[in-house]
């Protein structure tokens, strides 16, 4: 476990982990948005990689991916972007969120080398379930990267216990069925699921998928160690697309105001 993960895990805060898409709407905007998020109290950052066929994502993140693709952003450039983020002072763990096909084409070996060189801390592959992940997991541990595991409300208990025990970095608990995207309600039993995940987990347990409001986040404070927000933030970035390119300074001020309005008081 590196220093950045140690700080993440030892934090007493209710952890805020944002997701943004690399290259959306341009590389420099991604850098400044990342720094703004850290400023607002982000405990770690998930950096998405644009992909033609993102089958775990809803429309908001699909559109962000299309914008990233138009910028010719790809997996290798996303990894190298992390080194630029480090150069600009970003201290929190960065997790690359990539579909498996992109990783296969770059090559798992090359990914590991690049990730180590550029200050990446973890990887999350939404279409690589536990059953297919043993090779990548070995590679990640040899290269000191956390392979972030996802568990869903449909994950059966035995598997949930196993995944919780083996989790690295943090355990990503999917709040609801379906793809990424904003939701107005959460299913009954979600808190029980989070409690079950926490029981065996050696790492912080985070809840994600669909969160977009302060009062939603506060519901899970007692049963989880943090939360992930993706689509709601990406939607805000979409609404600021032009400003983030032409008038970045002001756009970042507005973005930070939005993030602060989202966060529970105690996680800032």
């Amino acid at each position: 476990m590196n220093k950045r993960w140690a700080a993440f895990q030892n934090s007493a805060d209710y952890r805020f982990v944002p997701y943004i898409m690399a290259g959306d709407p341009c590389e420099e905007a991604t850098i400044e948005l990342s720094l703004a998020l850290e400023d607002c109290g982000a405990a770690a950052l998930e950096l998405g990689v644009p992909y033609s066929d993102p089958l775990a994502d809803g429309p908001v993140i699909q559109r962000a991916g299309m914008r990233g693709l138009r910028q010719k952003m790809n997996l290798e450039k996303t990894i190298k972007l992390v080194s630029k983020l480090r150069g600009r002072g970003l201290k929190i763990p960065v997790i690359i969120f990539t579909y498996y096909n992109l990783l296969l084409q770059l090559g798992e070996n090359r990914f590991m080398t690049l990730a180590e060189e550029n200050g990446v801390d973890g990887i999350l592959v939404p279409d690589l379930p536990y059953e297919e992940s043993s090779y990548l997991k070995e590679m990640c541990s040899a290269h000191h990267l956390a392979l972030i595991s996802l568990v869903a409300p449909t994950t059966h208990n035995e598997k949930l216990n196993k995944l919780s025990r083996e989790a690295e970095g943090f355990l990503y608990c999917i709040s609801s069925l379906g793809v990424t995207g904003v939701r107005s309600e959460f299913r009954d039993g979600l808190n029980d699921f989070l409690r079950a995940a926490k029981e065996h987990s050696a790492v912080p347990v985070l809840v994600g998928f669909g969160l977009s409001k302060r009062n939603q986040i506060e519901q899970f404070e007692g049963t989880s160690d943090g939360f992930i927000i993706g689509s709601a933030i990406v939607k805000k970035i979409e609404s600021l697309e032009k400003e983030l390119i032409n008038n970045r300074e002001e756009a970042i001020v507005e973005f930070k105001q939005y993030i602060e309005s989202l966060l529970p008081v105690y996680s800032r």
Binding site: Y51, S52, D53, P54, L55, A56, G58, P59, Q62, L69, N74, L75, E76, Y99, Y100, N101, L102, L103, L104, Q105, L106, P126, D127, L128, P129, Y130, E131, E132, L150, V151, A152, P153, T154, T155, H156, I174, L177, G178, V179
Partner: protein, 402 residues
């Protein structure tokens, strides 16, 4: 000729196959696999399936000796396995019946399906009506525009057709969208995949429900030819369900097998769907297979005159049969398939689907280099009524009317 038993317990065909899907639907794949294996070993289920194929779809479909076509072409005799004579006009119904019966057995009341040209969508809507299930069909906006008649047929059958506007708005995006919907509704919904693609156990299951094509062919051919087997078997390949159904019982036998992909405007151009000829290893729709993609791994849009063949991936078992060289995969252009379609029409009075015309075109080439006493079986996967509009544009619009 002997090969390893595939798929293995992880759903692997050599390096290919597997389950590359979000964790949320892993339990559903396990549940499906368990139910499917139970159904496989349940004589009642098998009897019910065979009976539905007979009394609802009209099986067995005939094996027709294309005498005039063979003579006009020269060389080997050509036999046609007439999947075009199935209810709804193509082999797709075999699999749709099988999966619908399984859905009913599992207590699922809702099915979802993806479709490109609309043939699988129509088959899914048909079995949904027959077995009293609700049905949502995901179809790309672009395909909805091109296939208005099939869209109307699906609606007439009571299905809801959902327009997919993501990505390139065609089959691959419709499949992504169906998977996304399945992730959201997985607890009460059965995903009826139309081809031998997708995560395990789908490729195995689709093959199982389609292999009736090959078994009937062997029976029929042997009866007509004093116990001998054909000297070659040919089928077109998009995702590969008719081909795997035809090939399955031949794989362990000493019979050369040929899969025919769509070369579109030529495999040296960018406008083709020749996944095995030009594709590289990658993951699409839950399966590790060959696919058409950029070096970085962005999946590219295939092209073929035939809407059923323009899929950027291919069933993982075909990728495996290609790698082990048990099946030879060839590619046939739009023009070659159009010529074959016309020749079949004029010589046999059979209007086949543009997909099937690719298999016919290759078998005509193959036959020319074989002896008169040898025989080729071609899987005529579907009828051409759905393609009449395209054919009118190509044949009359292009001044090629003969």
């Amino acid at each position: 000729m002997s090969a390893a038993i595939v798929p293995d317990h992880r759903g692997r065909y050599g390096n290919f196959g597997g389950k590359y899907v979000p964790e949320t639907i892993m339990f559903a794949l396990e549940e499906l696999e368990k139910s499917f294996e139970e159904a496989l070993n349940d004589k009642e289920f098998q009897k019910q399936f065979q009976n539905e194929l007979a009394v609802y779809s009209g099986r067995p479909t005939p094996l027709t000796f294309a005498e005039r076509l063979s003579e006009a072409n020269g060389g080997a005799k050509i036999y046609l396995k007439r999947e075009d004579l199935n209810h709804t006009g193509a082999h797709k119904i075999n699999n749709a019946i099988g999966q619908a019966l399984l859905a009913v057995r599992m207590g699922k009341k809702k099915i979802i399906a993806e479709t490109g040209a609309g043939q699988h969508g129509v088959a899914a809507a048909t079995v949904a009506a027959k077995y009293g299930l609700s049905c949502k069909v995901y179809m790309g906006k672009e395909d909805i525009r091109r296939q208005a008649l099939n869209v109307f047929r699906m609606k007439l059958l009571g299905a809801e057709v959902i327009e997919v506007t993501s990505g390139s708005q065609t089959l691959k995006d419709a499949t992504n969208e169906a998977i996304r919907e399945w992730v959201a509704s997985v607890e009460d919904t059965f995903y009826l995949i139309g081809s031998a693609v997708g995560p395990h156990p789908y490729p195995k299951m689709v093959k199982n429900f389609q292999q009736v094509i090959g078994f009937e062919t062997i029976d029929q051919f042997i009866r007509e030819n004093e116990g001998s087997l054909p000297d070659a078997v040919v089928a077109c390949v998009g995702g590969g369900s008719n081909a795997i159904g035809m090939f399955a019982p031949f794989i362990e036998k000493d019979v050369p097998l040929f899969g025919v992909e769509a070369a579109g405007k030529g495999i040296e151009t960018n406008a083709h769907a020749a996944t095995l000829s030009k594709g590289t290893n990658g993951v699409i729709h839950g399966s590790l297979t060959k696919l058409l993609q950029t070096e970085e791994g962005q999946i590219t849009e295939p092209y073929s005159i035939s809407a059923g063949l323009d899929y950027p991936g291919i069933g993982p078992e075909h990728a495996y049969l290609h790698e082990t060289e048990r099946v030879k995969y060839e590619a046939v252009t739009d023009q070659e398939s159009l010529d074959a379609l016309k020749s079949l029409c004029l010589n046999e009075g059979i209007l086949c689907a543009l997909e099937s015309a690719h298999a016919v075109a290759y078998s005509l080439k193959l036959a020319k280099n074989m002896n008169k006493d040898e025989a080729i079986v071609v899987c005529l996967s579907g009828r051409g009524d759905k393609d009449v509009h395209t054919l009118m544009e190509k044949v009359e619009g292009g001044n090629q009317y003969e």
